[in-house]
Symmetry: C2
Subunit: 262 residues, 2 copies
């Protein structure tokens, strides 16, 4: 680079009425859709992007923050900004906010979850690989082992459902299910200490697993439906039994899924 920033002499703002930070988003979007950016890749430093696009670093950061917010990028302080890797996932925060904003009821939430999970269970029975079956079985085992530890139990409870979704061979449904169940998980973790019969629930997990392993979609669907109807009942009764110390452990609550921040 031989010269000072030319941008200030060019009416860049005028030619494209769009926002400056949109340039960053568009640039990254195009590169992703053209396959030039793969999960795990590192993108250029903010200062260099600013120079390349002829805009300020503040605007670059605006665009990058947007992409971080929707889960496409992740920033690591001191290291760089990377394209999100790992299994595809949608942040549950938007849905969670939407639920609070529009007063979505738990009943409707469970209904949505049931619609998706029942289908997912059927697909898993059709498509699960041996590895995926093993993964499901492991979660069942871990859940049994955590029957006396509500917090740990819950992690493997939802881990089971996540494993089933992963075995459905449909990443879109798995991703959406993960988003919905994550919202439910965050509510559940606050009440699970007052839970009733946990064993009954794991037993059902085991039966679902067996149906999937037996390649029996119909049974898998039926059992999953029954299981979720029961889960809703349990959840509702947990919420009913208000206890004074309910928020004692609210803060230290772990999360089985990934949790993005701004």
């Amino acid at each position: 680079m031989t010269s000072i920033n030319l941008a200030k002499f060019l009416p860049v703002r005028s030619v494209r009425t769009g926002l400056m930070r949109e340039q960053v988003v568009d640039q990254v979007r195009v590169m992703i859709k053209e396959g030039k950016l793969r999960p795990g890749d590192r993108i250029p430093p903010e200062r260099e992007l600013a120079r390349q696009l002829g805009i300020s670093r503040a605007s670059v950061r605006g665009g990058l923050r947007f992409l971080c917010a929707i889960g496409v990028l992740t920033s690591r302080h001191g290291s760089g900004t990377y394209v999100a890797d790992g299994p595809p996932a949608l942040d549950s925060e938007p849905l969670d906010m939407l639920a609070a904003l529009h007063g979505f009821t738990a009943k409707k939430m469970f209904e949505a979850r049931r619609v998706i999970e029942v289908a997912v269970a059927g697909l898993a029975a059709e498509h699960a690989t041996d590895d995926q079956l093993t993964r499901i079985a492991e979660e069942v085992t871990e859940t049994y082992a955590a029957l006396d530890n509500p917090r740990e139990y819950l992690i493997h409870d939802f881990g089971f459902h996540r494993a089933v979704a992963a075995a459905s061979d449909n990443p879109i449904l798995a991703t959406i299910m993960g988003m919905v169940s994550d919202v439910l998980y965050q509510r559940r973790v606050q009440t699970v200490e007052r839970a009733g019969d946990l064993k009954q629930s794991v037993d059902m997990h085991r039966r679902i697993y067996r149906a999937i392993r037996a390649r029996d979609p119909q049974t898998a669907r039926a059992l999953m439906s029954e299981h979720l109807i029961q889960a809703e009942r349990d959840f509702t009764s947990e919420e009913m039994s208000e206890s004074v110390d309910s928020d004692a452990l609210k803060n230290s609550a772990g999360n089985p899924g990934k949790r993005r921040s701004a």
Copy 2:
């Protein structure tokens, strides 16, 4: 306010290792969950939020940008920042990016859509109000009227599905369906000019509508399933017939849903 900014004298950064902009997100999140912020409300100006929280305006903007990105807030240049209003909706951009990043196939996309829409059609048959039935009928009519205008046709095609979802009485499923179908819409709009028999599709819409109006969930579900299987076939064949001028109208493509920007 009687004093200068005190923040610089306090080791704010130290006590909470968290990011500064997270303060903004947390503040808004709490206010939403406590019901103090309703859709359509205007939040304080950036400069005032910065003063209240004792952080810089840049950090405030960071937090607000995050909330805008996930669809909770919308900024209006020169006016203010508002809590998102209108019907609940999840931005399709995250799912769209995820699809590009992980190579989700159209086949899987349609499968996911079918799972959700079939269920939604059944629920609509059970719960649709008269107004919602009218809304669905209107979309069918408009679609018939646009049979000779592929672009307009497509808007009302997806409008029909959106109307059915709205009638399901489950905002979560409706929101998720909107997100998925929006991704499909954006791909479809690029190929619809080469579409084949549009009338067959809208005829099916009419039959679905009748099943819903007749309060016949089973038929509604069956017809919706059949309809979407056919829609997938149509879409696939449209994509096969590659044409040189396919991107001529790509830019001017309208969008029936809302489209957020950074």
